[in-house]
Assembly symmetry: C2
Homo-oligomer: 153 residues x 2
Amino acid sequence: MNRTQNKVQQIPESDDIQKMDTQTEAFRHNRELRKLALNDDYLELIADLIAKTGEARTVDIACRLGVAQPTVTKVIARLKREGMVISEPYRAIYLTDAGRLIAEKAKHRHQIIVSFLMAMGVDPAIAEHDAEGIEHHVSTETLQAFMAFLDRI
Amino acid sequence: MNRTQNKVQQIPESDDIQKMDTQTEAFRHNRELRKLALNDDYLELIADLIAKTGEARTVDIACRLGVAQPTVTKVIARLKREGMVISEPYRAIYLTDAGRLIAEKAKHRHQIIVSFLMAMGVDPAIAEHDAEGIEHHVSTETLQAFMAFLDRI
DNA sequence: TACATATTATAGCAAGGGCTATATTTTGAA
DNA sequence: TTCAAAATATAGCCCTTGCTATAATATGTA
Ligand SMILES: [Mn+2]
Ligand SMILES: [Mn+2]
Ligand SMILES: [Mn+2]
Ligand SMILES: [Mn+2]
């Protein structure tokens, strides 16, 4: 039985219960974001490679991510199933409209966060590094707060 | 063969190579951080439960995280292997010194980030939510920049 | 054109986090 | 003290990301 309805133990205040539910929702959502983070990174990188060289090859993705080639192949297969990516055997990888949209949003968040961290006095290299992780966990509201700060200064 | 030493394709500028290596390192490190994120959450939560009730029970951890009980049992077994946690069968879970240290650091980062986001004008509930994800991806330098900002205002 | 080399695919392994169903143990209330 | 209910453990499943080794294909150059 669910511990929330256990009458035997300490009875939390209704404020605390609200807080717990909120926290649980945050945990749930963050587990989801952790999964989506990999998609973001792949799609943003693919967009980047296409912008620079016209196509995204498996080797290049693997090299940039610091991961073995079969790992990339497998993730790309999933992204293909999910309609994020187009590819033929032995050919380069391209983005669908859905994939491109996610890539653009990811890049946007990435850039804002790097700019923001630098504005906070963080070293550019470290800002870039931290942004690679933070970008996946920033809500629209927080991103807007960052943008507002950048406008303000 | 590694694509970085491929002479046939476009030859990147040495600045670009440096940037690529930096990015690859960021990706590698962030994959590591993604794993450690779960440890942080568990240990911080266990510390929280111990502070409030004197012990951390599997049910309570599961309930708070919004996860099934066997999932918690399995993760706790790993944390035990890793020396972060102490537990006997059918008994509550406690922290080792190593585990407590990580929990304290996690809580510290968590609090700083919540305060910082609120100082940036983010709604408290959203700040709490975003912090739950961001906390795992903030370097010491960035955290200090946040603290410096909080001191400044 | 032929073939060496680079690239991609496939097979198969490990570990981790999630789940449900079910067995076992603890515990509080009658 | 007993026993039903709560808590925990265990078994067994799925899916994902990572890896290495190796097979298949593409491609540029001789
Ligand atoms: Mn990233
Ligand atoms: Mn990014
Ligand atoms: Mn967290
Ligand atoms: Mn936290």
